[in-house]
């Protein structure tokens, strides 16, 4: 049987290792989140961008890492790097997951860009045993000051878009967020407030000082399972 050997070679990019961006490039707030995740956990990162956190977790902690990302370029980058990423968003694509499908669900700097943050928050603690949520604090003093003094919509490093093209349609303060968690009966297991450089403050997140000084908050949440006693399907391979 003749096997044709004259086959084309110009097929896409050359063979590449299945690792994403280097460890050193991991954003400081992502690194903090990564440190909160146990090795071997089942993790869903919603709004995973180019998959930097997932790649880090897969490599350093051997987690079963899955991602959801809205942008095609982000999804393609993740899948190209051998990560399991689906194109979708937090508003539309969480509903399908069963209760407790993941050990940890991460929503990093994305809550404020969802259409239905309240429902998203409920979904997070439903499909994850834990949810790690980070978001920019709109109560940050620089933001308050800019609005007060300049009378223009404030822009910071975290929130740098102009008012007319920002994806951040549901901004909140740390205090707003804590109030919503209380209202929904979502338990705050742990919280961190971070300064402009992503360094954690040791401040009570319910206090006024944290709400004034922190540029962002990172919260570890858990909620009641809606169907107690049901075994979630284990993630496969």
């Amino acid at each position: 049987m003749n096997r044709s050997a004259a086959l084309p070679r110009d097929v896409g990019a050359p063979e590449r290792a299945t690792v994403a961006p280097a460890v050193a490039e991991l954003r400081r707030d992502l690194r903090l989140i990564a440190d909160m995740i146990e090795p071997g956990a089942r993790v869903l990162d919603i709004g995973c961008g180019d998959g930097a956190l997932l790649a880090y977790l897969a490599r350093e902690k051997e987690v079963d890492a899955r991602g959801i990302e809205l942008s095609q370029s982000g999804v393609n980058a993740g899948v190209r790097h051998g990560l399991s990423v689906i194109q979708g968003d937090a508003d539309r694509d969480l509903e399908a997951f069963p209760d407790g499908a993941f050990d940890v669900v991460v929503l990093s700097q994305t809550l404020q860009a969802t259409r239905q943050p309240r429902q998203v928050l409920e979904e997070l603690v439903r499909i994850g045993r834990q949810a790690i949520v980070s978001f920019p604090n709109f109560g940050f003093w620089r933001i308050r000051l800019r609005l007060l003094l300049r009378g223009r919509m404030p822009a910071t490093e975290l929130l740098h878009n102009s008012w007319y093209d920002t994806p951040n349609i549901h901004l909140c303060t740390i205090r707003d967020f804590v109030a919503l968690c209380d209202e929904l009966g979502v338990r705050i297991e742990r919280s961190l407030t971070l300064d402009r450089h992503g360094r954690p403050y040791s401040l009570d997140p319910r206090g006024s000082l944290a709400n004034l000084l922190a540029e962002q908050g990172v919260f570890v949440l858990s909620g009641k399972r809606t169907k107690p006693g049901t075994d979630p399907p284990r993630a496969a391979r």
Binding site: L7, T18, Q72, A101
Partner: protein
């Protein structure tokens, strides 16, 4: 109108290049028939590793065949996925062992309606049992068992090939490590069934079809088959791609002729597609295989629940759709993703932006190549496959 008139005959029993497997033990088909004594024609590329863990089954589309990266024995055209297959390619023949079998009911060596019915010695024609996608996959399973492969590293395919890949994942989840359905769906839509029906009616309206007995009578329903192909071909493209390629350009003339010749380039192109198709495809095979696609509905096999089709241990999935594919639109792939999320399957989903329509999976689409390469490399790492396993 000349291109639709010349009847062409192909002789059954042609010796096709490649391998074939004679299956003696009957398959129980969905229609209830015990179907035995059939042949599966297939091609392979690369080498099976000693652990037999590097096999990729490629499933071809409706009118595709097993000549993935070989010249087509009838037309001489390059194989339909030569862009992907080769040393160092996306489907790397130095890493993987590639298998592609002609689908059951086909006309390129695997038993189909063109072949002899042992009971009569005549071509099966419409006495051939109606087959389903699941039946095609059952036949492929026999081939894989024959090759001594317990678990395929991957099942990959576009369009009807995607249906087969999904069927594999649903029917034999332990026999598949990874699944790549491209431009597919978990069921054939009403619109797609409608298009297929147009094609079938075109064939059956051709007097030369003769109730399906054209081979026995020495006829060929070329006109009907060509029209079926022309109609179907439109659905494989997109409005934007047709406009980009042809616009309203005229064919070898400066003005319209006020007649029914192919004034427009797009007409000439479609006629060409139709007339070349009849040289390589059997009209009854077209009826049977379109029917198999129409009957495909994974959820229906599981009490109407698509997640139930993937309950239990699932392979890894990489689902790909194309923005301009209106035959198998992204919504179909997304429904699949949601069903797989419901059972917490390991799934990647990429929608690729292109104006090339459904046929994009056969064309040069760098984003597709990069996606497949990344997914397969990631899976190979999990499966412990190295590139130079020898």
């Amino acid at each position: 109108m000349s291109i639709l008139t010349a009847p062409r005959l192909r002789r059954p029993g042609t010796d096709w290049p490649g391998y074939s497997l004679a299956v003696e033990e009957p398959l129980r088909l969905d229609c209830g028939v015990e179907f035995g004594g059939f042949t599966i024609a297939y091609q392979t590329y690369g080498t099976l590793n000693p652990e037999r863990s590097n096999a990729i089954l490629i499933c071809h589309a409706l009118t595709g065949d097993q000549y993935v990266a070989d010249p087509h024995p009838l037309t001489g055209n390059p194989g339909w996925w030569t862009t992907l297959v080769g040393p160092g390619g996306v489907l790397d023949t130095e890493r993987y062992f590639l298998i592609c079998a002609n689908a059951l009911g086909g006309c390129m060596g695997t038993t189909g309606p063109r072949d002899s019915n042992p009971a009569t010695g005549e071509p099966w024609a419409l006495d051939f049992p109606v087959i389903t996608i699941r039946d095609m996959v059952r036949a492929q399973k026999r081939l894989i068992e024959h090759l001594g492969i317990d678990q395929l590293f991957c099942v990959i395919g576009g369009s009807m090939g995607a249906m087969q890949a999904l069927q594999w994942a649903s029917s034999y989840p332990d026999a598949v490590f990874a699944t790549v359905p491209i431009a597919g769906a978990a069921r054939h839509s009403a619109q797609n069934i409608a298009f297929h029906e147009v094609g079938r009616q075109a064939i059956m309206a051709d007097p030369d079809w003769s109730g399906g007995r054209y081979l026995t009578l020495g006829r060929s329903p070329s006109r009907g088959l060509a029209v079926a192909r022309m109609a179907a071909h439109i659905t494989y493209l997109s409005e934007a791609a047709l406009h980009r390629k042809f616009g309203r350009n005229l064919q070898d003339r400066n003005a319209v002729t006020y007649g029914f010749d192919a004034d427009f380039q797009v007409e000439s192109y479609l006629r060409h597609q139709g007339s070349t198709f009849v040289d390589r495809f059997d009209a009854n095979s077209y009826l049977y295989i379109t029917r198999a696609m129409d009957y495909f509905d994974l959820a229906a096999e599981h009490g109407g629940s698509l997640p139930a089709a993937f309950a239990g241990n699932q392979p890894r999935f990489c689902i790909v759709s194309f923005t301009s594919d209106w035959l198998f639109p992204t919504a179909e792939s997304r429904a699949l993703v949601h069903a797989l999320n419901a059972v917490a399957a390991n799934v990647s989903f990429v929608e690729i932006e292109t104006d090339k329509g459904h046929d994009a999976f056969l064309l040069h689409e760098p984003e597709l190549f990069a996606t497949l390469r990344g997914f397969l490399s990631g899976c190979a790492e999990h499966r412990g496959l190295t590139r130079f396993w020898t």
